[in-house]
Amino acid sequence: MRNPTLHELQHPGTSDDAHAHHHPFLQHHFEDLGQQHEASTLGMWFFVAQEILFFGGIFMAYSVYRHMYPEAWSAGAHHQNWKIGLFNTIVLIGSSLTMALAVWGAQGAKRKLTTVMLVLTLLLGMTFVGVKGFEYREHIHEGLFPGSHFTYVDHAHPELTRGVELFMVFYFTMTGLHALHMIIGAGLLIWFIKRAWRGDFGPEYYSPVEIMGLYWHFVDIVWIFLFPLLYLIH
């Protein structure tokens, strides 16, 4: 006789269904798919919590220097093309929509819809990163890449040059870390596209797509803060 788990006591009936099929994706150390799903979702929420602190540190440093060098920060923001930024923002919000639809498709065992939506998410994400790369190229051409390549001089206000360089340090570090998160997300998407096409996901087992969605939305939200801070506020 197997003792009921805490999860089964709280959610009667869930485990018998799962055990009846012996679902291929139920890992041995979990009692049932419900417990496995709750564990992986909670794990991703905790991961997002640590990500918030990770980005929080650099947002804090950004704020300190914005307060210290307001004119330079304003001059730095003028070198950003807000139209491109807005375009990328729309692309990213669109990818969040397709990601959410992919989760919905996985829950409903809509294999083709899930796959198509994950592919669209990947394409939109890569569009974002590509546009970002184009922006980087422009900045480097203008001599705005910090360090020894920084040849830019603010002729109207030469005293702001150091501050603009510092702004660009934050610009490249913040958007660079964000783009790195996008690229990691894209790698995961490729893996999940393969799994979705294979038909791994369904009403019983869709946690990977759902926690992928949590991650993707989080990375989008970071951009929602970066866009005004780096492009819009003068």
Binding site: L6, L166, V169
Partner: protein
Amino acid sequence: MTSTTIDDAPFIEPSATAKRNYLNDEYGVLSWLLTRDHKRIAILYAISVTIFFFVGGIFAFLMRLELLTPEGDLFTSDTYNKLFTLHGIVMIFFFLIPAIPAVIGNFILPIMLGAKDLAFPKINLLSWYIYIIGGTFGVIVIITGGVDTGWTFYTPFSTQYSNTHVFLTTLGAFITGFSSILTGLNFLVTIHRMRAPGLTWFRLPLFVWSIYATSVVIMLATPVLAITLVLLMVERVLHVGIFDPALGGDPVLYQHMFWFYSHPAVYIMILPGMAVISECVAAFTRKKIFGYKFVAFSSLAIAFLGFLVWAHHLFIAGISIYSAMIFSFLTMLVAVPSAIKVFNWTATLYKASVSWQTPMLYVLGFIGLFTIGGVTGLFLGALGIDVHVHDSYFVVAHFHYIMVGGTIMAYLAGIHYWWPKITGRMYPEWWARLSALLVFVGFNLTFFPQFLVGYVGMPRRYHAYAPEFQVLNVLSTAGATILAAGYILPMIYLGWSLKFGRKAGPNPWGAVGLEWATSSPPPKENFHETPTVTWEAYDYPAFLKAMRETQDA
């Protein structure tokens, strides 16, 4: 303690006498390197942190040798700078932070919860590999010439002036940070979602509460260090002025960001020690811990308050007197939950029939030394005294009382306490008691003189000093020799016991807890059937009754 009755204590694991366990379930190097069993991963961590402990110890010993005489005659000042830097980095990032959580926590926590494994076994293995990659950077730095910034990497020295391997070292620390983040995350999810039926929050062993608090701190503080080190690496590589005042940056901001992690990191190191102490006190007094809920919540209170005190490291760095006063006050507040723990352990000892096994000797050492370390922490939290003793050996003595007198004592207590569970063998009691005594005497002789010499003005981090400080420094070096013997001895007798130690029963201490309900060593899946918890934490009669009933059934 009469061990004969203890060996007869009932247990619920029916296969306790069976031959299969996690150690002999599979053989071969790959069965270890690719294992997802939390117990084997704990062993991998145990071996790695032990190696780093002795590496860090060698640096400490070389420093103590240099300080035997007032002249800087053994090493140049540059070499000495590298010695104390590497000692700090190796001990903190590669030993103290992972030691108790990743070794003892990894092994014991899932068993305490009645779970088959941690929630994410593959991520657990990944944590170890990330730790090894980070550690490899550390080893490369050591072999190729070291680093001389101090373990705090203060800017702008670290970013603009130091000609040593700052980038590689910070990259190693950055990478290792993700190892502890993933371990903390794994523990949190496991505690939330993998408890056995009946194991409610207030039935959890206090070990679990303290590890929970540790994991919260790991998860919320470590990413801030990560981003700080990213900014540091960016500044060093590009030569821009994020933290360099000459280029428009703010070095005090670096200190704020660094200590926002590194002060909570002190609690990452001491809270797991407190976790072990609570278990050992309950086991060797055979009593419930006095004021269970106070001890449980004091862990969370330490974790919370620990985030609010970082700027007490900056009292002389130029922060405003008003923020210094606030941080001084908040620092005093941390003493409250810490004192609650000490008082409650002491109250548990009161009128108990205490058995003086080795873990208990370490526990008593911990309680005394942690108290001294904590109270001197209050001295340092007080603004006036801090200005006087800042950057002196008083500070060195203070944090070694917490880190070595506290955490390492607790680690050794835990290793001895759970040794029979981990290996299935008893360690030799006489030798273990001798080494506990050596550690205690050696520790105090090493570090108590440093309080005195620091208070009268010997600054830290110099290889030469004024001749009037020599007597106390000779005492300190003599103590370090005894301490080293106390640390090497367990390596020998614990190794011996693996083959020749007396076989341990499932519950050699007659303690309460699910880990004592399974065989020693445990089977691969910890329990053949998920246990049901019907007893309150440390309720000896109820636990023994439950064990008997399950055994009869």
